[in-house]
Point group: C2
Chain length 319, copies 2
């Protein structure tokens, strides 16, 4: 191991993934915790510190000996102060919370906070599927659909909120999105929106084993694993809703490519990684149909860093 180790935490709506890496980005230790729902931001921060401490112990280092810890978080991030606001997927986090400061106190080292999708895109662009490309559009298909933009090797954040590819309008006046707007890509492709639609159609009598599978596997929601099992069984509603998601992803990604013309599109996220091989080619084909320049499509790749991509990207915030 050359140089001091760094920590990375990927904060998600359902789980916290922590890692400790060496200066060559090799993972020395990792730990995972469910995101606590009961104690608000303070409880989440405590669980994050615990997960990182566990990963450090597995790596055989003290947290205060780490060069620093990076955090990829949902919500609006003030990168300088580490304050996170309005993280809608997290419990009682509609206000502002000094996440960076709280973790610095708990871990005894410098903490840098960035946007979860942004750091995951950065990781793929530097170490993963985009490492041979200069401009990258990351599409993270999971609970929602997030996007990350790297242009000439640098992250593009706009005024702080760039990358909301899930809220590009693919059908004006169309389905209601969890964000409240209509016709967003996420309204068709986000796991939350797909589950809401499935529940509605199931209640109306649609033929599906999705909710039976969910109960059998003791899941609180339709996870990407449940969708995959249903697809394996030829479940008609799962097929229909995933097809609808694929079409929306194809149109929305094409829109983004027509605007930005990146060298590569990288499909990540829980659903993106799980279905990358199976549905990626159809998403790419659908994208191709809506490209303005049909002769020069961007490369289309599935994220390579897998489940740890977000945490690895977070660790890259430590410089």
């Amino acid at each position: 191991m050359s140089g001091p180790a760094r920590g990375g935490i990927d904060l998600g709506g359902t789980k916290i993934q922590a890692i400790v890496v060496d200066s060559g980005h090799a993972v020395l230790g990792e730990a995972r915790q469910p995101t606590p729902r009961d104690d608000g931001p303070e409880g989440v921060a405590r669980a994050m510190a615990a997960a990182l401490s566990e990963a450090a112990a597995a790596a055989g280092v003290e947290t205060d000996a780490l060069k620093g810890v990076g955090v990829g978080s949902p919500g609006e991030i003030e990168t300088k102060s580490g304050v996170v606001s309005n993280a809608k997927n997290l419990p009682e986090w509609s206000g502002s919370f000094p996440l960076g400061d709280r973790l610095t106190e708990a871990l005894g080292t410098m903490v840098a906070v960035g946007n979860d999708v942004g750091v995951a895109t950065h990781a793929e662009s530097e170490l993963g599927a985009g490492r041979h490309h200069d401009s990258v559009l990351g599409v993270f298909w999971g609970t929602g659909v997030g996007g990350g933009i790297v242009l000439k090797g640098k992250d593009w954040h706009g005024r702080g909120s760039a990358g909301e590819i899930g809220h590009m309008v693919v059908k004006r006046g169309g389905a209601r999105c969890p964000c409240g707007n209509r016709g967003c890509m996420e309204a068709y492709a986000g796991r939350s929106a797909m589950e809401a639609k499935a529940r509605k159609l199931h209640a109306k009598g649609a033929d599906t084993d999705l909710f039976k599978l969910m109960k059998e596997h003791d899941r609180p929601r339709l996870t990407s694993g449940i969708w995959e099992r249903a697809l394996d069984h030829g479940d008609p509603l799962a097929e229909k809703l995933l097809d609808r998601a694929v079409k929306a992803l194809g149109a929305g990604i094409a829109s983004a490519v027509n605007l930005l013309d990146p060298e590569v599109v990288i499909l990540g996220g829980g659903l993106g990684v799980r279905f990358g091989e199976r549905l990626g080619p159809e998403i790419e084909r659908r994208m191709g149909k809506s490209l303005f320049d049909h002769d020069h499509p961007p490369d289309f790749e599935v994220a390579e860093l897998g489940d740890l991509g977000g945490a690895i990207g977070a660790s890259l915030l430590v410089v």
Copy 2:
């Protein structure tokens, strides 16, 4: 006048606008020619050289005394060689043509060629409505709908084809666009697409004076002026189709803003400048409805450089 004068040519599908400017961007001479339809790229290049020579004469300079001439052109541009390919709006220009070389021979000075919408956006970002902003999304609403992107003061071209905001999908599976795809913003908002739709509905008996006005004013097509006159008369079909265009523009611009998060959106182009005051606020309101971050909309401005913006932007290519 400080420093040598420069030339700028804006090459459009219907007209060629040429100017000569001093180093402070003041226009010293200008000339305009219709884009010839009969002699292919060679005929267009001759007309461009003639227009620029006329502008130079008006400015009292020889063309070979100019520091250089910039050209804003449709189609695919090789900026290094000045070769323009696949300029669909121009006559017999589906192949490649060495526009830069041909103009250099004719004018006796260095010629730089760039994308028409790109140079117009650059001009607005440097000298017009975006001069106090660092990141700019230009939306040029005319025959088609073109886009230009300036990020941190620099033009973003992607792999050469960025900015095709008119071909962002606003309605998956929707109206056929002149580009062949379905549901593009341009399929609803481009002047060509609006005219085709108007002809179709008129043939089916829709109540409109659009084509009567076109004949009265001896126009070969529904120009932006004809649309304005019809709107002034409360023409129901003009109102309906412009409303449809405004909704598509609002959704498409919001999609682009959700992805890029620029500081300012600048509405230009023939229809954009003509209807900026009248319809701009409604486009902005429609955009606002589809923003992900409703609390932080970008500034929304109408292009300030008017008809000469493209030619002024072209002149900025000369460095």
